[in-house]
């Protein structure tokens, strides 16, 4: 195992992807649940598109950011739980006895998250288009959507890795799921911030970085190319990635020490 870091990372990323692919229940829930909630929201809240000042022609277009963000969350929890399982099962400790660097396990896991994010992004865009979602920014916009979604998945994945490395417990990682879920719903995911009536909710949505990720993706669907919103979305995603990966690296050092 005297291979270079990229080879080690590639091997562990492949392991991460294969482990996900071999669990059909994980793949199905990662694809099915976000689309199901999207569909329920889109048809359940369609009437909201009649509100004065609503920024999209249909709620279907407006809500399309929802499955993309939710899918990133699912991917992060799954990957974090897998990493925690590796710690619980002793795989991580055995890995430390080999010349393979522990950081490759972390990077491999994040590689797996990116692969799952890519699959989810492509599938959701395909299904969304079939359902009638009109992506105003066109084909290039779709590519940017997938890229931003993968960045978001990487950021959430880093947070999942911190939880896994700090606790070493699958249960602890999975119990964080409701917190992520709360963070998604307490954002501008369901209505634009200017249409949120309750001041306290609008305040939370404004300080919640997820609002800006949502608005970045959404702008590509309902507006087209809105440089400012998109730049804020990417900046937020990049900041989450940097903070989460730094935290994950520090947690890894503590775990290895």
């Amino acid at each position: 195992m005297g291979s270079s870091l990229p080879v080690q990372v590639a091997a562990l990323a492949q392991r991460s992807v294969l482990r996900t692919v071999r669990q059909p229940a994980v793949i199905i829930s990662a694809l099915l649940f976000p689309m199901m909630f999207f569909s329920i929201n889109a048809y359940g809240l369609d009437a909201a598109a009649r509100l004065p000042g609503f920024p999209a022609d249909t709620y279907l277009d407006f809500a399309f950011a929802f499955p993309l963000i939710q899918a990133s969350l699912f991917g992060a929890i799954t990957a974090g739980a897998d990493l925690a399982r590796d710690i619980e099962s002793g795989f991580f400790d055995r890995l430390k006895l080999t010349p393979m660097r522990p950081v490759s396990l972390l990077l491999g896991m994040l590689g797996g998250i990116l692969a799952l994010g890519l699959l989810q992004g492509v599938v959701f865009l395909a299904i969304g288009t079939l359902m009638g979602v009109d992506v105003r920014s066109g084909l290039l916009g779709m590519v940017v959507i997938v890229f931003l979604m993968m960045l978001v998945a990487l950021g959430f994945g880093g947070i999942g890795a911190i939880l896994a490395l700090r606790t070493g417990s699958v249960e602890a990682v999975e119990s964080a799921f409701p917190l992520f879920f709360v963070a998604i719903f307490m954002s501008s995911i369901n209505l634009p911030r200017n249409l949120i009536e309750a001041d306290w909710f609008r305040f939370i949505a404004t300080i919640n970085p997820i609002s800006y990720l949502v608005e970045g993706i959404r702008s590509l669907v309902i507006t087209g190319w809105d440089a400012r919103t998109l730049a804020i979305g990417f900046a937020c995603a990049a900041a989450i990635v940097v903070v989460a990966l730094a935290g994950a690296a520090a947690s890894l050092r503590t775990r290895v020490a």
Partner: protein, 255 residues
């Protein structure tokens, strides 16, 4: 152990003690509370949509759904407890000791009702703090009665699945159908404002009638109360038979 009611009382007593000895018994209220806060806080303007004609307002509209979700999830969580009792061996000893085993189901159901009295009250207190208007008067008892029926039906459904599968891995099998029934209904807006396939499914979903009636009770303008209670009692009857079937299977396997 004695007859039907004695067994039911013993099981209920143990289960209620277990609930109150562990703050986790409030868990079924967490998701409904979260959805209530998220929907009532974030979607209030939806109440201004043309055609939205629920007089008590959007927060009250969401409260009723949150309350019914809390009581239904309370039933589901009781199913998880039963599955846990099978895994840790308690249920096996219970089946050996109980003279009349049908009382076991009644015991768990009573305990579930006690649990949701607390979790339902918690949701209601938070809704009152947020400012829902109470305009139903005596009709509110109609809402409470429907909530109780929803809880009993969900508990019996969960009990049947738990006794049939006898493992905590039955969790998604209990939770997912309940979650689907709750969401494939007029959650955000009245039925007439839903669109596409969701409106079609919501029309066929019996829970829609129960939800409409419950909202009517809160508004003090009862609508389709009789069909809603009819559906409630029918679900209780069907799932009671289902739970008994699960119990008989568990007896046969001897778990």
């Amino acid at each position: 152990m004695g007859g039907f009611f004695w067994v039911a009382g013993a099981v209920a007593g143990r289960q209620i003690y277990k609930y109150f000895a562990n703050p986790a018994f409030l868990a079924p209220a967490l998701f409904p509370l979260f959805f209530f806060v998220a929907f009532a806080g974030g979607l209030t303007r939806v109440g201004d949509v043309p055609g939205f004609d629920y007089a008590p307002g959007y927060i009250a509209f969401q409260y009723v759904w949150a309350l019914l979700q809390a009581v239904a999830m309370g039933g589901a969580f009781t199913g998880f407890s039963i599955a846990g009792d099978f895994e840790n061996g308690f249920a096996r000893r219970l089946l050996l000791a109980a003279k009349n085993r049908s009382g076991i189901i009644l015991g768990y159901t009573i305990a579930s009702l006690v649990r949701v009295t607390v979790t339902g009250a918690l949701v209601t207190v938070i809704a009152l703090v947020v400012g829902i208007p109470i305009s139903g008067g005596f009709d509110l008892f109609g809402l409470i009665g429907l909530a109780a029926l929803v809880n009993v039906a969900a508990t019996l459904f969960g009990a049947g699945v738990a006794m049939l599968l006898r493992t905590q891995q039955a969790g998604p099998v209990i939770r997912t159908p309940i979650f689907m029934v709750l969401f494939l209904a007029p959650v955000f807006v009245p039925l007439n404002l839903l669109q596409g396939w969701l409106q079609t499914i919501a029309r066929l979903n019996p829970f829609t009638t129960v939800l409409d009636a419950a909202r009517g009770f809160l508004a003090g303008e009862p609508t389709s109360a009789l069909p809603a209670y009819g559906i409630g009692f029918a679900l209780v009857l069907v799932f009671a038979l289902w739970a008994l079937y699960g119990l008989r299977r568990a007896e046969r396997v001897g778990s």
